[in-house]
């Protein structure tokens, strides 16, 4: 049987787990390249003008990989009311119009249509591996995703505390390879352990006063750093710790397991007084998480949204009030192809600066005029 060539959209470190999974299913994987300026330019050229940034980036990625010869594209679906659920169908239409021939396979969330999901998986499994085999390979790569998430979270914590600027990022890049190269679950677990240990060796100042920033928004721009100009790294270097509201492990769990996790329930409950309706995308989560971050004593919030993203526009309108009522600074970025890294950095600097001054002020007040000790530094 001919070995089929397959590709998928680029999304953060997760591509390495997707790759493993598809290779185990007997595909030759045509790896999507990390989105670049060229990717975006291609996307912008062929996408409808008002489509949102993730749509353009993903289309650009396809346009870069399809000429290499691709039989299948596999991607995620969705059932609205946000647009993402229709992305794949429109991508397909546009690409076929351009003359490419391939098969688009869309994985819809299993919770919505379990039978359909099973059928799609069987279709993907063109070499007819046993269910047991598939289960094992999913489990193994799932473990990999978890390891990737854990190590990334560690980097987010360490970055604002590093003694030499850039040292965490540099080390992080290296240790990531451990996990990428691991195959069996045992190897992955070991790699994760090693990676964390290595990261912890980077010299840091744990007493440094660091402001904590929550991050909410639309899933793609949250998870794919090239779409948000590596915002998390920038924030870390400005001396703030980022807590991202969404990781693939969390998201997939909430969307695949019957009976929602406690986590998600509380996010929904937190959002309800402000936005009782599920409006698609992650609009309700953005609000719920904002409330939770406030309760947990975070210093501020950043919302990332593709320009024209409907759920996030609704969320932003309401977040304005939440920010006023709680005296809680919130910064929103509406991202499109015109967004520049420099402009973003300037706004971030001012924002983090504000958070630091606020926190300092609060601490000074708490000490009632007492002197602050010397460990305070803003690096």
């Amino acid at each position: 049987m001919k070995t089929l060539r397959i590709t998928f959209p680029y999304m953060g470190n997760y591509v390495h787990a997707f790759r493993g999974l598809l290779e185990d299913l007997g595909y030759e994987v045509v790896m999507p390249v990390k989105p670049s300026k060229r990717t975006l330019d291609l996307g912008v050229k062929y996408a409808p003008e008002f489509s949102c940034l993730p749509y353009k980036i993903v289309l650009g990625t396809y346009l870069e990989t399809l000429p290499k010869g691709v039989d299948r594209i596999v991607t995620s679906g969705g059932v609205g009311p946000c647009r993402a659920g229709l992305y794949a169908s429109l991508h397909e239409k546009i690409l076929k119009k351009l003359g490419y021939q391939f098969e688009m396979i869309v994985l819809e969330p299993p919770l919505v249509d379990l039978k359909g999901f099973y059928k799609t998986v069987q279709h993907l499994n063109y070499k007819n591996y046993s269910l047991w085999y598939i289960y094992k390979t999913i489990k193994r790569n799932w473990r990999k995703i978890k390891a990737l998430d854990t190590v990334e979270q560690k980097a987010l914590f360490l970055r604002p505390r590093e003694l030499t600027k850039g040292s965490v990022s540099a080390r992080y890049k290296e240790v990531l390879q451990y996990i990428i190269n691991a195959y069996s679950e045992k190897e992955i677990a070991e790699a994760e352990y090693e990676a964390l240990k290595e990261l912890e060796k980077v010299p840091v100042d744990l007493n440094r006063l660091v402001v904590k920033v929550g991050m909410v928004g639309e899933i793609y721009v949250l998870l794919e750093p090239s779409s948000n100009f590596e915002i998390e790294e920038t924030i870390g270097h400005l001396g703030a710790e980022v807590k991202r509201s969404m990781f693939l492990t969390g998201w997939t769990r909430d969307n695949t397991m019957p009976g929602k996790s406690e986590d998600l329930l509380s996010v929904k409950d937190a959002a309800k007084p402000y936005l009782p309706e599920l409006i698609g995308g992650h609009g309700q989560d953005s609000i719920g998480n904002a409330i939770l971050y406030i309760k947990q004593g975070f210093d501020g919030l950043i919302q990332l949204a593709p320009f024209t993203c409907i759920p996030e526009i609704v969320a932003r309108t309401i977040l304005t009030r939440i920010s006023q009522e709680n005296n809680f600074p919130i910064l929103t970025f509406f991202l499109d192809e015109q967004t520049g890294k420099a402009g973003m950095e300037t706004r971030l600097e001012a924002f983090i600066d504000l958070l630091k001054r606020k926190k300092l002020h609060k601490l000074e007040k708490a000490e009632k005029g007492g002197k602050l000790n010397g460990t305070l530094s803003w690096n």
Binding site: F50, P81, R83, G85, L278, T317, I318
Partner: protein
């Protein structure tokens, strides 16, 4: 409350107004509540909305903010229902779903908002349930609620029949004195878009009048009855678009494409910043292209000038006329 002078309920003359006002007017009339509409869109209303709404919001949402701002001081209640689903299949644009919340958290000086939720996916007749709930909340009996609901349905039916016959609601939805706005002519153009753009004379620069003067017959999405539209599944055969108004535009588009042999062209009227429309627009563009039917996208934003818009329409019509002439002479 029933004994006092009838309380007034404010309704914005935009968004859902063009689709469902007959129902709600019948409903509130029967209850004895007075509905007060915001005036037809004006420059002031639009400017106010642009000021009050989020800069990134689409034009129609800004417009809605403006209409609410013009109403809020003049009424006892603001009626902003959360209409989620009416046909068991499609939902409304997410901005519709979050409408009452967006308004609530953007203004400080609002009268109470009636934000009754209508969802047919969870109830057999969500509209009836919502009607009853609202009636009892306002202090009326259930029976009165049922009567109001029935009157609403009656008017709605009447209205939709009129639309199907080609009547166009220009600025006002009026089942007693409907306006027949479009000429009958062999020169037929489908003007597709959401009702709050197509029928709002201010926001579309009276484009309907313009067609009228130019002897162009206009076909709109609402002229294709739901029962007919249902048979036209837009998009790839795998998936329907899941927003009600988009589904309406796309299925009527398919209908016109297949059933009006002398269709001269298609114009898609869309608003700046509209989320669903980038999908709708590209689908229509590709499909119309395949059938070689001239296609024009008109995007309106708050800076669009009348001259610019109508010039483009004129050029489009000229192009079609030239095309037809050369086809004839061949």
């Amino acid at each position: 409350m029933v004994n006092m002078a009838a309380p007034t309920v404010g309704i914005a003359r935009t968004l859902n107004y063009y689709a469902y006002f007959p129902f709600w007017s019948g409903y509130f009339d029967t209850l004895g509540l007075k509905t007060i509409l915001s005036p037809p869109t004006t420059k002031e209303i639009l400017d106010q909305g642009v000021k009050d709404a989020l800069a990134e919001a689409c034009l129609p949402i800004k417009l809605f903010f403006g209409h609410i701002a013009s109403l809020k001081k003049k009424v006892d209640y603001l009626f902003i229902p959360r209409i989620v689903n009416l046909n068991k299949k499609t939902v409304y644009c997410p901005k519709f779903l979050g409408l009452p919340d967006m308004i609530k958290y953007s203004y400080d000086d609002l009268p109470p908002i009636i934000d009754i939720r209508v969802d047919n996916r969870t109830f057999h007749d969500g509209l009836l349930i919502a009607s009853l709930k609202l009636a009892t909340k306002l202090g009326f009996s259930k029976l009165k609620g049922v009567k109001a609901y029935q009157e609403g349905l009656k008017r709605q039916q009447l209205y939709e029949n009129l639309l199907a016959k080609g009547y166009l609601p220009i600025n006002e939805v009026n089942v007693k004195k409907p306006k027949h706005f479009s000429v009958k002519s062999p020169f037929k153009i489908a003007l597709l878009g959401y009702p709050y753009l197509v029928y709002d004379n201010y926001i579309n620069f009276k484009v309907l009048e313009f067609f009228n003067q130019n002897e162009v017959q206009i076909l709109t999405a609402e002229q294709v009855p739901l029962a007919v539209r249902k048979q036209y599944a837009p998009f790839t055969n795998k998936k329907r678009v899941f927003w009600t108004f988009s589904d309406r535009v796309l299925s009527s588009f398919q209908y016109y494409l297949k059933n009006v042999p002398d269709l001269k062209g298609i114009i898609h009227l869309t608003a700046f910043g509209c989320g669903p429309d980038f999908i709708v627009d590209r689908i229509m563009e590709i499909d119309a292209g395949e059938r070689q039917i001239p296609y024009l996208t008109l995007t309106i934003d708050e800076h669009t000038g009348e001259a610019g818009l109508l010039t483009r329409v004129e050029a489009f019509l000229d192009m079609i006329k030239r095309k037809t002439r050369s086809e004839v002479s061949q």
